[in-house]
């Protein structure tokens, strides 16, 4: 049952541009893909280490700005921009991780929130670099240039859809590899019982910082994709709304599972778009808040684990 559902989902995802004609619907799917990368990244921290980052929009935004600034101001190749969108947030994740993960818990949450606030202030105030609130227009689209062939632009929505699909697959595989490795087992051991883990020689801070770096780099990757897709970067990328959306996706989808964040991301990008005609943006955010509380009360492990249990029970 589960395998058939998985194959069906994969086939649907792989052929989507062929039967989704409405460009707006395709845009929604692309955003769902970008959010899936972000949710997977947040889940690595929240789901596997138990540490909540409420500043994930900062890593997303740094990635978007890194990609935007390098390609607009220095006119470097978008691929180098995308690489920088992974490396820079990863480095920021290292610093934040080292600072906060010595203490964990509430301290980590607080440090990540205020870090996001700070980075957002820089993006608004450092006019010379970031153009301030006006933002950076004209971020180039991704392009594949193979020797001997004319350059192939990934400007169309259908082409970019496959870029995002590949990015989701890549992020999924990175998470999978990490979790199945020694590192993943160490993280779970630390989450479950830190004292016991330490007694068998697991260096808690080391592994948590590693998770923070990978998570931040992955969020930055999502930001880079977003910049090349919308072709515009402004301080809005640091909006707290992005972080809230990621948290809802992970918690509702099922934290500590790999399928959960992806299911959550698709659900919470498609659902609001479907409801858009009926509700305003404020109602939607209000609903998010109620939903977060509701999920924690009635389905604390999330949709995917709950569905799995139902299947195995029947």
């Amino acid at each position: 049952m589960s395998r058939a559902a998985l194959l069906l989902a994969l086939a649907t995802a792989a052929t989507a541009p062929a039967w989704v004609w409405n460009p707006y619907h395709l845009h929604t799917l692309i955003m769902a893909g970008i959010f899936a990368v972000l949710a997977l990244s947040l889940n690595l921290l929240l789901g596997y280490t138990g540490q909540l980052s409420l500043g994930h929009a900062a890593f997303f935004g740094i990635g978007a700005y890194a990609a935007g600034l390098l390609t607009v101001k220095l006119e470097w190749s978008p691929w180098i921009g995308l690489l920088a969108a992974v490396v820079l947030p990863g480095a920021a994740g290292y610093v934040i991780g080292r600072l906060a993960l010595k203490l964990r818990g509430a301290y980590f949450v607080l440090l990540t929130i205020s870090f996001a606030g700070c980075v957002s202030l820089v993006s608004v105030n450092w006019m010379d670099l970031t153009n301030g609130p006006l933002g950076l227009p004209g971020v180039p689209p991704l392009e594949i240039a193979l020797p001997g062939l004319p350059p192939l632009s990934l400007r169309t929505k259908a082409a970019f859809y496959y870029v995002v699909l590949a990015a989701v697959a890549l992020s999924y595989l990175v998470c999978l590899a990490l979790i199945r490795s020694r590192v993943g087992r160490a993280l779970v051991a630390l989450r479950e019982n830190e004292t016991l883990a330490a007694s068998v020689g697991i260096d808690g801070t080391h592994y948590l910082v590693l998770a923070a770096v990978v998570s931040a780099a992955m969020a930055g990757f999502g930001g880079g994709l977003y910049a090349h897709y919308t072709r515009f970067v402004s301080p809005e990328v640091f909006l707290f709304t992005y972080t809230v959306t990621m948290v809802i996706m992970v918690v509702a989808g099922g934290k500590g599972t790999l399928a959960g964040p992806i299911v959550g991301a698709v659900l919470f990008t498609v659902l609001p778009e479907a409801l858009r005609a009926a509700t305003s943006w404020q109602w939607q955010m209000l609903l998010y808040g109620v939903l977060l509380v509701g999920v924690l009360f009635f389905m604390p492990e999330g949709i995917v684990p709950a569905a799995r249990r139902r299947w195995s029970a029947s």
């Binding site: 138990g50 105030n125 808040g289 009360f297």
Partner: protein
């Protein structure tokens, strides 16, 4: 020199309200072990409640503040009864996520109810500043400072000297023993949370007339409150009271001498410094609550 004095004075005036914000948060954390992310929303609630009392029900300014505190405490009590009580015994992270849900819900409810346009609160105080030698100060700010100080002192006395305060501290030190001594545990939890929320609402009602009211004003207030709590050490009452003053002065100096655009980054830098150098807070040896 005069400029420095003025900055220091402004910093202290601002810092007292940060202290008020911080002690509410540190109490709820220290006593209940709840990271209250909705703290800033109780602040916003207090500000709007004062505004509603003044401009809709046209009560007197001095009456609007206690009304706002009552509204905040009531909302806190409801929140504790309906959301925190069923989650008693759950992990601190689950409770934290629930409070984040409350934060988003309250903020957007306020946005829907009051609209996104900023509102200003009228006060009976003259706008003419008082000139005291080299420095000058708005009478409203002096009033805010005095009331904040009074509330902080009152909260301290309530905790340290009254039977209720002793029951609160006892409950969170050892539930069973406190219950055996006849303390109603569930009631103490509700009162403690309502107390913290009421203090946040007081800060909102006091600062609302100084700044403008808008639905997301609580975000910044939460951030300041958390900075204060980290500066003072999580759960440290006296630390939070002092931490607020330190943050207020540091912000004024930063805004005055470095760049006003980065005023709100000062708190972050201080948090980083404290986490690096003195993770248990600036005043680690001061008295701990709980």
């Amino acid at each position: 020199m005069d400029q420095l004095l003025q900055h220091l004075l402004n910093g202290l005036l601002l810092g007292a309200t940060y202290s008020l914000l911080g002690i509410g948060l540190t109490l709820v954390f220290g006593l209940m072990n709840v990271v209250n992310f909705a703290h800033g929303e109780f602040y916003t609630l207090g500000a709007y409640a004062a505004f509603a009392a003044l401009s809709l029900a046209s009560v007197h300014f001095f009456l609007a503040i206690p009304l706002a505190i009552a509204a905040g405490a009531l909302a806190g009590a409801v929140c504790e009864r309906c959301l925190l009580r069923p989650l008693r015994g759950q992990s601190i992270d689950t409770v934290m996520l629930v409070m984040i849900g409350v934060w988003i819900t309250m903020q957007n409810a306020e946005l829907l109810g009051w609209g996104g346009v900023a509102k200003s609160v009228p006060t009976p105080f003259p706008t003419e500043p008082l000139v005291l030698g080299p420095v000058s100060v708005a009478p409203l700010r002096v009033f805010v400072f005095v009331v904040s100080g009074g509330l902080i002192l009152g909260a301290h006395l309530l905790l340290a000297r009254t039977k209720l305060g002793r029951a609160m501290r006892a409950t969170f030190q050892d539930r069973e023993t406190a219950a055996l001594m006849g303390v109603s545990i569930e009631r103490i939890h509700t009162i403690t949370f309502a107390f913290g929320a009421g203090l946040a609402a007081a800060a909102g009602a006091l600062l609302g007339p100084v700044f403008l009211l808008y639905p997301s004003m609580g975000d910044l207030a939460s951030l300041k409150a958390f900075s204060v709590v980290i500066l003072g050490g999580l759960g440290n009452f006296a630390g939070a009271a002092l931490g607020g003053l330190v943050l207020g002065v540091a912000e004024e100096l930063g805004a005055g001498y470095v760049s006003s655009g980065y005023r709100d980054a000062v708190g972050f830098l201080m948090i980083v410094a404290v986490l690096l150098l003195r993770p248990s807070g600036l005043f680690a040896r001061a008295e701990r609550v709980g």
